[in-house]
Symmetry: none
Subunit: 205 residues, 4 copies
């Protein structure tokens, strides 16, 4: 049982590496088999098909990201602060894990309806988290009433595009350079102002 899980993990690890680098179609099962140092039959024992393996990977990565976001959110108070925290968590996590970002944001597109459906499902989960906190911010009176669903997806798409550019072109640096600008952009878009993230040290009494 323990061994089996380790094998499964090795397969997912190999698949992550290869899918991230070359995409779903350009990655052959043979390569995964070789990279994971397992046999063909071994892979098919753990995953019934290449597609299912890809989906399992997607779920795993989405969960990872979701956990990072949830942790960040839990540590802050106030809807707007939570939103800022989530944004920061997403960028930090994706910036640190190129492979994760590549698969979650770019792979699985244009691979036919099944893949698209899966991607929409994953994005929905994130969109709902964002939307929930936006709704709370509205309820709190922190921001004006807006179309929170549309806003959530717009943010997701913007993030996706920008992270993709970081991945492929290397610029601008996600955290140091863009995070404040992006946060400001997002908050502006809902009519809120950025709480000074680096407040000057208050003078001693």
């Amino acid at each position: 049982m323990r061994d089996s899980e380790a094998t499964r993990e090795r397969i997912l690890e190999a698949a992550e590496e290869l899918f991230a680098a070359k995409g779903f179609y350009e990655t052959a099962m043979d390569e995964i088999v070789k990279t994971a140092k397992i046999s063909k039959g071994g892979v098919y024992f753990h995953f019934p098909s290449k597609e299912k393996l890809f989906f399992a990977l997607l779920d795993r990565l989405a969960e990872k990201l979701q956990r990072a976001v949830e942790t960040a959110i839990a540590q802050r108070h106030g809807a707007l602060a939570k939103i800022e925290g989530a944004l920061e968590a997403v960028l930090k996590t994706l910036a640190g894990k190129r492979r994760l970002a590549q698969i979650l944001l770019r792979q699985g597109y244009g691979l036919g309806p099944d893949f698209e459906r899966k991607r929409l499902e994953i994005y929905s989960r994130f969109a709902q988290v964002i939307q929930k906190h936006l709704d709370e911010a509205v309820a709190e009176g922190s921001i004006e009433s807006i179309n929170t669903e549309l806003t959530a997806y717009a943010w997701l798409g913007a993030l996706n595009e920008l992270v993709t550019r970081w991945i492929y072109t290397g610029t601008p640096d996600p955290l140091k350079e863009s995070l404040p600008a992006l946060t400001r952009l997002f908050l502006s878009s809902i009519g809120a102002a950025l709480k000074d993230p680096h407040p000057a040290p208050s003078p001693p009494p």
Copy 2:
């Protein structure tokens, strides 16, 4: 000579239809051949490979969209108004041409580095148009100074995600429902207000 161009057109037409519906990898050259009512060799006479055919298609569609945007922009005056016009033009064009939108926004992702490079190149063209007008708006004093490049890509990404959802889920309706909300979102994000097309009842004096 005239006929030759017609054949080329027929191939592109068939490719557009099939790639949009099933994606690059799930579309076989045989199907394009059958749909275009041409022979296999005929396709390869006009396009040296499946990939090159796909890229030619991408270019053609990008041009179409670009022309629509440019026309819309030319008819308006003032940077902000041009931006609103472009947004409307993009949404109108994409909403009316599902296939165009699908290929430009969703296909060609996760198909390996070559495809991604092509996509980045096309998006750059649009981003530059947006950025140029944002820069003008800043210069005019219509909006505050912001990171216009980041904003341009963020908008593109947001548009992409929202249009994708329209395509796959059918809701919300791009023009009637979302255009005002989206325009407001975008303009808010740069600290500008929507020129009230649907004036709210004016408050009592």
Copy 3:
């Protein structure tokens, strides 16, 4: 494991038969697949390409012939006798194995530079055996000093042409008729006399 080797053998057998009869280009992988009673993928599991399969075959046949020659040489004593023995062994082996001869001597010509390189490599191996024994004969004083390298290749070429004619025209019969004449020709060419295996009636005193 054992079975795998048998399959490989079956493929080589089929390839030998077909390449010999029709040449490299005129033989389709489909035919090899059918003849070997294996699947297409099966062939490609054992040989990465048609060309590699052909080369593997060439090596195998060259080895076979080389073994026959070496055995014949080992059984004789004296450089000249060894040369005669080798000649006889080559003719006997090739005469008995038309397919082997056809592939080794005629196929793989005019198939492009890669093929020619391979052929030159194989011929070199044989030329070196001949040359070595010619050098020994010179050292022994059995024959005068000559350009042994050139002689080795000349003999190979002569053999090639004659065997080819036997193969295609059926005449003259390689062993019964030509062996003595050819041996005499070769030995004459290096200034040595045939050790009379068929003594002419001795002249009257």
Copy 4:
């Protein structure tokens, strides 16, 4: 009519260049068309098929070589001298025309029975010339009675192999280095001695 012949010549020239460099199968009609700066239909107007074009080329080249040989032979007197002259002529001609040699000696092998038949036919023509003069030498009493047919083909084969090596490996230089050794080898093989090719100037009376 005049133009037509020039076109035909251009096609043959292009075909010669390409077939020599890459072989029959590796040369596409498209390449010939491009090199000859003519259209597809143009080639097919002059030659009914690729195979026929190749054969026409073979014939043309064989004729060229034959003429060189015949000229050389006509200038000498005595069967043995004629043989020496022919040998020299062949080597000189082939050494000066790599492409000619490549096609005549190496291309058209292993391309299936039709090609082999053609090659045998061409070689026969040369063999007959050699044999005729060998027979004359025997009749003259210049050499002992031998199997002249076998000898003719053996020589042809030897020449073929050696010229091939010159072509592909560049060594040894055909004329300067090998001609004397080869001539000696050939003459030895029929029991004749080389007539000093560079006689010391006879002293004045």
